[in-house]
């Protein structure tokens, strides 16, 4: 009986994720900061798992970063989002997958607002028609791209060449996960595990052999804060909040970090570099940092893709110590090359944090 009760409660923290047929919308931030991640996402779903993922060149930003910088009004983002939904409707899809947590949070907020205020939905329909001549349906299912990877995590595990296991000790790697505030803090029922039991990345890590670190500041913001990072004078906010997370996770000696949001991995990666360069403090072993990954990168790693095809060379915190722990081969000579071995020079080495 007790187990049934628990299962019942856990059901409330689940969401329905379709198995196939997605209209895919890219993330401005992910494309700019981790350019290979969306390439890998599509490759895994289309080539490895034969899923239908439709994309169109005609969608734009959702306006989310402008909205949360308060320069774009809510009526405007509602209508931009309505236009994205119109593109989905015109393409004949009902399942919408977006690649950004800010977008996902905003889509959830706008759909919820339309539910509570049907007159705003009508107004949005009119505005969209007036501005573009388009009409739209609200998606039947809204998924973040990580929800889709979560859904197929066991299929990926079956095809995996590597596991998130330390090959020297045989033990699972200790993994910190960060789902990003806008995935489920506003609408816990829209994310797997809600805000309380973040499970979208945990499910992947467990399926792929790793072990999650449950540290005190696990749910704390990475510190993006929109205007708090975007405006130089405010950037200490971002650094201070990342610092708080690292101080909290440090005693647990994590091997790696996996992230959901396209911005969080940038902050968790780069602020480690800044803390090392300014304070001389490194959070990993032997003067190294703790490498930070997108979920697409981790999926690609376990599937055995070349680390430099995954874009791991754009990280500031070196990934090689982690690749060595798992036993993933890599060629240091090709790390900084372009197509056909084109020499792109090498980045300067940081002073304090170990770079491979």
């Amino acid at each position: 009986m007790r187990i049934e009760g628990k299962e019942q409660i856990w059901k409330e923290y689940q969401k329905e994720i379709p198995n196939d047929d997605f209209f895919y919308v890219r993330s401005c931030i992910r494309q700019n900061l981790f350019p290979a991640s969306e390439v890998i996402f599509l490759k895994i779903l289309r080539e490895e798992l034969s899923k239908t993922i439709y994309e169109t060149p005609h969608h734009t930003t959702c306006g989310g970063i402008g909205y949360h910088s308060d320069i774009v009004p809510i009526e405007t983002v509602m209508t931009i989002i309505a236009r994205q939904f119109a593109l989905m409707t015109e393409a004949g899809f009902e399942n919408y997958a977006c690649s950004c947590i800010t977008s996902f949070g905003l889509y959830s907020e706008i759909i919820e607002t339309w539910n509570h205020f049907p007159e705003l939905l009508e107004k949005t329909r009119k505005s969209l028609k007036e501005a573009t001549g388009r009409e739209f349906n609200i998606p039947k299912h809204l998924a973040h791209a990580s929800d889709v990877i979560y859904k197929v995590r066991n299929e990926i595990a079956e095809k995996a060449k590597y596991k998130l296991i330390n090959k020297h000790t045989g033990k699972p790697l200790k993994v910190v996960e960060h789902i990003g505030c806008h995935y489920s803090k506003m609408f816990p029922n829209k994310g797997i595990g809600g805000a309380e039991y973040p499970y979208v990345l945990t499910g992947m890590v467990e399926a792929w052999g790793g072990e999650i670190v449950d540290y005190p500041e696990r749910r704390h913001c990475c510190g993006f804060g929109f205007r708090q990072y975007l405006v130089q004078a405010n950037r200490g906010y971002s650094l201070a909040n990342t610092h708080k997370k690292f101080e909290s996770m440090e005693p647990f000696e994590p091997d790696m970090i996996i992230t959901n949001c396209p911005g969080c991995p940038f902050f968790l990666d780069r602020w480690q570099y800044v803390i090392a360069e300014t304070e001389g403090k490194c959070y990993g072993a032997k003067g190294q940092g703790i490498p930070v990954f997108t979920y697409e990168e981790v999926a690609g790693m376990v599937l055995g893709y070349d680390p430099w095809d995954l874009g791991l060379q754009v990280h500031q915190i070196a990934v090689e110590p982690l690749l060595d722990k798992i036993g993933i081969p890599y060629n240091p000579e090709t790390k900084y090359q372009g197509l056909n071995g084109k020499d792109l020079g090498k980045p300067e080495l940081p002073k304090n944090i170990c770079s491979c």
């Binding site: 734009t60 308060d70 405007t76 749910r219 004078a233």
Partner: protein
Amino acid sequence: MKTLYEQLAKDVRFQEGMNACINCGTCTAICPAAEFYDYDPRRVVDLVQSKNEVEIEKLLREDTIWLCGECMSCVTRCPRKNAPGLIIMAMRSLSQDLGYFTDSEKGRQQLALKRTIGKMILDTGYCLYRRWVTPEAHPEGGPIWKWTFDNVDALYERLGCNLDGEGNGVLRKIPQEDLDELKRIFEVTGGMDRYEKIENYSAKKAEEMGLSMDEYITQSVLGKQ
């Protein structure tokens, strides 16, 4: 003439986010902004629910409302289902509508945001455009950011992207017809109006302060030099 409270109450985010606050302080306890700044979302919500016009006007003119990071951590935790983050968003909108935002140093940063993020959205269809995010403005990006910036074409090609290219793919060029639709949406829904208000109120303030627009932006973005 509507009171400030009545104007706030028209905002759908205010309607969603403002219920009776019991002043428990839970929002402040978990707030990343309160961690860093002298900022207290509990106080903001309590002042607003008091409907004290003088206090609300002060808030709309002060730095305080610009200190929130809009992470919405408070929403998960509030026992009364308030959303201090949404209340702040409604206040920021009103502060910009009325021009009060230029009275505070943090509020004046809106012009820089409009001229960077706002410009990228309309000109490129992306809220961030790789070629315009320079290593000089982002020293925290480290040597890797500089290397990727310097080699952006060759590197993104090697990673399978389609930087500024036709058709689908990572960082494709968004077709002009779509940018035109986006701009039309801004015109029809008040987005352009917001941009103009930010520009006009900022220009007025810069004049009052005896600053050129460049000096005004530099001061707000880097702090007083």
